[in-house]
Symmetry: C2
Subunit: 359 residues, 2 copies
DNA sequence: TTGTACGCGTTATCAT
DNA sequence: ATGATAACGCGTACAA
């Protein structure tokens, strides 16, 4: 194959064969208006005949100083990531935004929960990086800085010089908490996702909360507690379960513990729809009906939320807009724009049938 | 930013500053054993001081003729793709396989259901391409050939010169069909996914079947019919619904139609677990209990299959192995290996509780 | 249209 | 052992 490569025709091959300069052949591909149609056609025909497939992408990148890709870094492997519908939807919007600008998406998945390896970042052929919900101290983030690549962060604390897309996590959590508070619930539990990237699962005590590395989690907990405080619920009495990921099975496990407490919570605030769906399942398995005996609130409003039984009351965030904004920000940064103000994605409460007044 | 770039130090900058040749600086990064530790450290220190982050990835690629990435082409956008757990799991295994070899994954999503744009393929900086379930006539496949890139196809007919990972779709479908046949079912329906990439949904007549573009779909249908024929069920009397994607909502829609037929089928063979879960939902909404009144069989055995209610009888395929094999094949092709024999992923029937003997 | 000066490394091969 | 020299890769862009 190295052989094959070696034999490959280049711009020069075509130029010599046609009897023009290399520049002209380049123009035939990139600026058709710079030469006569007849010549252009002769060039293309010769290229086809010699099996030349057009300018080499890598060489072009070297010359233009444009790698032509947007890198996307995430915390975990792809599997856990894409089992999270919220991420899929966001990523889809991101990818089609950058695709429209002739750029593709380079995926840099995390290896052991700390994000991508620094080495992978250092060698990535990319012009700009989008980081999604990485721990603040991820080596990958340091690598991005070291390379001086423009950075867009999503669901993550702003870094100096980076652009940011954020969801009003605190505000959304407040909405959810006030909702159950207004319904009369007084024993309310929180089903959270990871506070740090160490795979820990279990009840989260104050010390654990204080050492948290994921901003999204801490923001939402703060919002929940704030909203509950407005209904005279003391933060110290709100049980919190930390699930190491946003998948149903983990939600079910956490809810089983929360709903086994004495006194039993009458409402559970969940940090994602996936966790909430697991919680509904757990409640049912414990013989508790939702929402009659326990109210469940989700977060995200993914398609599964309206599809579930009962349909889920949840905090809606516009995931498509989030992905699009991240993509546009990346494209702008790549063109030399300054980071500017963080873009905030609004949230709103979507009341469905998984919540009801406390009996 | 172009300014920033222009000012960036290069290997030469460092070399001059330290007073050595460019080659030596290159060696300091890539072959530490080729120079003294002291010199190496001096070089690295100077580099750090000048803000040099190591050899430029694009330039390195040009010199080594290795783009350092594996491209993955899929039919649809990312959203529909990743809402399919079977793909997520496979892709996760693929990505970690290539990541271990210091290569990243370049995503080339489809735009309008025909796969990626040819242009995107022509400009992709990649050494090898993995195509997943693309229609045979996708322009992206032609582009890969034109560029002469090694190709691995997954769930798709073999192309000349391409390596292939395949699941024994026919065999798996036969297993599913024999299972319901053995349970005494005689009125059996098929819930299929797309036959062609045109978004059509509805009952599939023989002409539609004949014009199908997706091998997976046609293979499974063939397998289902073959298995049923063994129980004296006439192929012409098996109703087939074509869903344009593998998501629950579409499964529900299709099953609603199938279960509304007269005579009503007592078993539905579904081409994915997601479709099957939608079918269970549809059955329940029609007041039919699963499996007492209707048996449902899935395909894939994703985590959701054992999580559903009732747990799903399904055809298991080893998705992790599928992704890993595709990755290894890609790495091998990239090193010049010949395609070799197709790799076949085994299937086996996983009997759970969504199927029962016909009453 | 063309000449030609870059761009930024890698990797023999050669010299000390 | 260490380090230097120089060819090479494949385009782009601008002045002529």
């Amino acid at each position: 194959m190295t052989q094959d490569r070696a034999r490959r025709p280049t711009l020069d091959t075509i130029a010599q064969r046609v009897g023009v300069s290399r520049a002209t052949v380049s123009n035939a591909y990139n600026r058709p208006d710079q030469l006569s149609t007849a010549l252009r056609e002769r060039i293309i025909a010769t290229a086809k005949q010699l099996g030349y497939a057009g300018p080499d992408p890598v060489a072009r990148s070297l010359a233009t100083k444009q790698a032509g890709s947007v890198a996307f870094m995430l915390c975990d492997g792809l599997s856990s990531a894409f089992s999270d519908p919220a991420l899929s939807i966001m990523l889809d919007a991101l990818s089609s935004t950058v695709d429209n600008e002739e750029r593709s998406l380079l995926l840099l998945p995390g290896t052991n929960d700390g994000g991508p390896r620094a080495q992978a970042v250092m060698r990535a052929q990319t012009d700009v990086v989008v980081a999604y919900s990485l721990p603040d101290d991820a080596p990958a983030l340091a690598a991005v800085r070291e390379r001086g690549l423009p950075l867009v962060v999503v669901d993550q604390p702003e870094l100096p010089g980076s652009a940011r897309v954020q969801v009003d996590d605190v505000g959304g959590a407040v909405l959810a908490a006030r909702h159950v508070g207004a319904l009369g619930h007084r024993r309310v539990a929180i089903l959270a996702f990871a506070l740090s990237a160490d795979g820990v699962r279990g009840p989260a005590d104050p010390r654990r909360l204080a050492s948290a590395h994921f901003r999204v989690s801490t923001d939402r907990i703060a919002g929940y507690l704030e909203g509950l405080a407005g209904h005279s619920i003391v933060p110290g009495e709100v049980p919190i379960w930390e699930a190491p990921g946003s998948v149903r099975e983990l939600g079910r496990e956490g809810a089983r513990w929360l709903l086994g407490l004495d006194p039993r919570p009458t409402a559970v605030l969940c940090m994602s729809d996936e966790l909430a769906l697991g919680a509904i399942r757990a409640a049912n398995e414990l013989g508790l009906s939702v929402p009659a005996e326990v109210s469940i609130v989700g977060f995200d409003d993914t398609p599964a939320a309206s599809w579930s039984d009962p349909p889920l009351t949840t905090v809606r965030q516009d995931l498509v807009s989030k992905g699009r904004q991240a993509g546009e920000l990346a494209l702008r940064m790549l063109n030399g724009a300054r980071p500017g103000k963080p873009v905030t994605i609004d949230v709103e409460l979507q009341v469905r049938r998984s919540t009801a007044a406390r009996v």
